[in-house]
Amino acid sequence: MLEVERLGKRYGDVLALRDLSVRVGEGACLVLLGRNGAGKTTALRCMAGVLAPSAGTVRVDGIDAVADPTAVRALVGLMPELPGLYERMSARGYLDYFGAIYGLEPAMRKRRIEGLLELFELVEAGDRWLGTFSKGMRQKVALIRATLHRPRLVLADEPTSALDPDSARRAWAYLKDLQAEGCALVICTHSMEEAEALGEQIGIMSAGRALAVGDLGELRRVSGLPTRQEVRELPTLQDIYLAVVAKDSGNHREHHELAETRSA
């Protein structure tokens, strides 16, 4: 479904992303973890056909994102970190507008919009202006908008960061349903709980590159963390994440120290 080979993106002098290679199959889910500025958002934008890569290739359903970005964007549902809703539009009107942009027939748009508003408990608020919505409600509308056209690939940047635990679980269940229908997911998050709940594959990013990509077992091996002997417990994803990032920082430090020693 999604094939990313040695993806790189440069903004002027700033190298935002380098050498990212991942594959996400039909109905699979990749979770990207990383601190702010690690390149996750840029990676999503390149995968969505919104930004052209400076290096490497992105293919969605076999379509090259550089050769035909419009076709790629039609297959993808991108949910950016900020919902980006029109304040003076009702939720129904807003979703109808984006449904029309994706070419959905009016009857189908109406059916899907009502179904999803009901799922996310927004039926009554559906005719209110989006400017009056709470943060969580806005995020739900953004998630509905990104998935309204039943995309083959959903790219979501912190999709549940503003949701209460109950709504977050509802959103995860909805994403799992999409997965079951064959939709591939790529999700950026800072929530380890979310990553463990959704991610079959997890990528840990730092400074524009992927430090490690794999399932939880593979990441445990990469991290080098032992099983917690005292309580006979496997290291959590949080432990793994911190260990992998710390190991990379250590490598950088060693590299710098070595360079300084050489120059001295």
Binding site: P80, Y86, A100, Y102
Partner: protein
């Protein structure tokens, strides 16, 4: 020049949403409508008052036309506010990011947004104009249909130029605050246009308004094309690189502009098209000057001052003074031309050869070609090629200034074209010195 593909149905979707959004704020709509109606009525009261209290017919008629231009200008300026809101405002609120992540092409988003702003602004402009015409002209015994048509045409282009300018601003401004400040670069030239139009009406030369309407059409087309080229996902979502070390970045940009530039002969080959255009300026100017003199389209009283000032600049004092006067006059022209090339889209470069050609042709018509050519021999053998090269490089600066690319880099390209000009001055200035000496010693 090809226009990109766009699905009109999708562009209409974007336009209709933007239209609904603009009219959803009642206070804004009421303010715009009130101004659109109140200003024409206020102007009409002034004009009719003047007519009633015995203002001369010529004064009243001309002022009624000037009033029409002002009445249209104010709603036209709303287009700038609306366009900035539509592009920079949406970008600031991140709604544009969502829109560009859909299958819509850039051209569809651009066309839809421009159409929405044009529809609102033109409705207000023409609404105001109709109110003004109904309030002023009945009973005045004067209805300048042709001028009002020229006004209606130039208004469309004026509004389109403002909208396109706003898009170009939106690509360079990250916030509404910055965009509002940068909008002065559009409002100020437009107010100058308005003043010139008013001056033409007051001088009774309304036939030139058609020329102005034509100029606005070209300007609007160039700006719309620039906006379309520059309006790209890359430009809109490009990471803000910040304002750290501005002097270091500026000096690095300048070094970059001067680095790896082609040598003189390679540059001449690369600029062969602007060279041909600049070279054509001389015979075209000569032909235009000859025709202008023969048909008396341009009176000799208008050309004589230009010729006299050139003769006076060269004719006073010792031969060294004459050489210095001719040399400094030519160097000044060569320095001013590239500076205004950015604002005139390279027209100043063309004029560098066209204008001397015009004078040459004009003088030839009044005397003979042999006398006219004797005046530019032998210094012209050096001066004319130098003017063609300088004109070509200035045309290139202008062409670069009106060319935007999706990947950005406008500043770097303009700097590189300017660097070519500056580097060429190493050869051109000595050539001008030689020409000045030839003109004084052998001319």
């Amino acid at each position: 020049m090809s226009w990109p593909r766009l699905d009109r149905r999708k562009a209409a979707l974007v336009a209709s949403r933007d239209l609904r959004d603009a009219v959803s704020e009642l206070r804004l709509v009421l303010a715009m409508v009130a101004l659109t109606v109140a200003i024409p009525i206020g102007s009409a009261i002034g004009i009719r008052g003047l007519a009633y209290f015995g203002g001369g017919t010529a004064v009243v008629n001309r002022l009624s036309l000037v009033g029409a231009f002002f009445v249209v200008f104010i709603p036209a300026s709303f287009s700038l506010v609306l366009a900035l809101e539509s592009f920079v405002g949406e970008r600031e609120r991140t709604t544009l990011e969502v829109l560009v992540s859909t299958p819509l092409r850039e051209a569809e988003i651009y066309a839809g947004k421009v159409a929405a702003v044009l529809a609102i602004s033109l409705t207000l402009c023409y609404g105001g104009l109709i109110v003004y015409c109904l309030a002023v002209f009945p009973g005045l015994g004067f209805f300048p249909f042709d001028v009002l048509i020229a006004l209606a045409l130039s208004t469309v282009c004026q509004v389109a130029a403002m909208v396109a300018g706003a898009v170009i601003i939106s690509l360079n401004a990250r916030t509404m605050r910055a965009a509002n400040v940068m909008a002065s670069f559009i409002i100020l030239p437009m107010s100058v246009v308005l003043q010139v139009e008013a001056a033409l009406i007051l001088l009774g030369r309304t036939e030139f308004l058609w020329g102005f309407a034509g100029f606005m059409i070209v300007l609007a087309a160039v700006l719309l094309r620039m906006g379309l080229n520059g309006f790209s996902r890359e430009a809109l979502l490009a990471r803000e690189v910040g304002l750290r070390s501005p002097f270091k970045r500026a000096s690095s940009a300048l070094r970059g502009a001067f680095g790896n530039r082609p040598g003189f002969f390679r540059l001449m080959w690369l600029r062969r098209v602007p060279l041909a255009i600049a070279a054509a300026g001389l015979p075209l100017g000569a032909a235009a000057g000859y025709l202008a003199a023969v048909t008396s389209a341009v009176p000799s009283s208008a050309v004589k001052p230009a010729v006299s000032s050139l003769i006076n600049a060269a004719g006073a004092g010792s031969s060294t003074d004459e050489v210095l006067a001719i040399f400094s006059h030519n160097v000044l022209a060569f320095l001013i031309v590239p500076l205004i090339a950015v604002l005139t889209a390279g027209l100043s470069g063309f004029l560098l050869t066209f204008f001397p050609g015009f004078l040459l042709g004009y003088v030839a018509a009044l005397s003979s070609w042999s006398i006219a050519l004797t005046g530019v021999f032998p210094n012209g053998l050096v001066e004319i090629p130098a003017a063609i090269i300088a004109g070509a490089l200035a045309i290139q600066i202008g062409a670069t200034a009106i060319h935007m690319e999706a990947s950005g880099g406008w500043t770097a390209r303009v700097l590189a074209a300017s660097a070519d000009y500056l580097r060429a001055l190493r050869w051109l200035i000595p050539a001008l010195a030689v020409a000045a000496i030839l003109e004084v010693k052998l001319g």
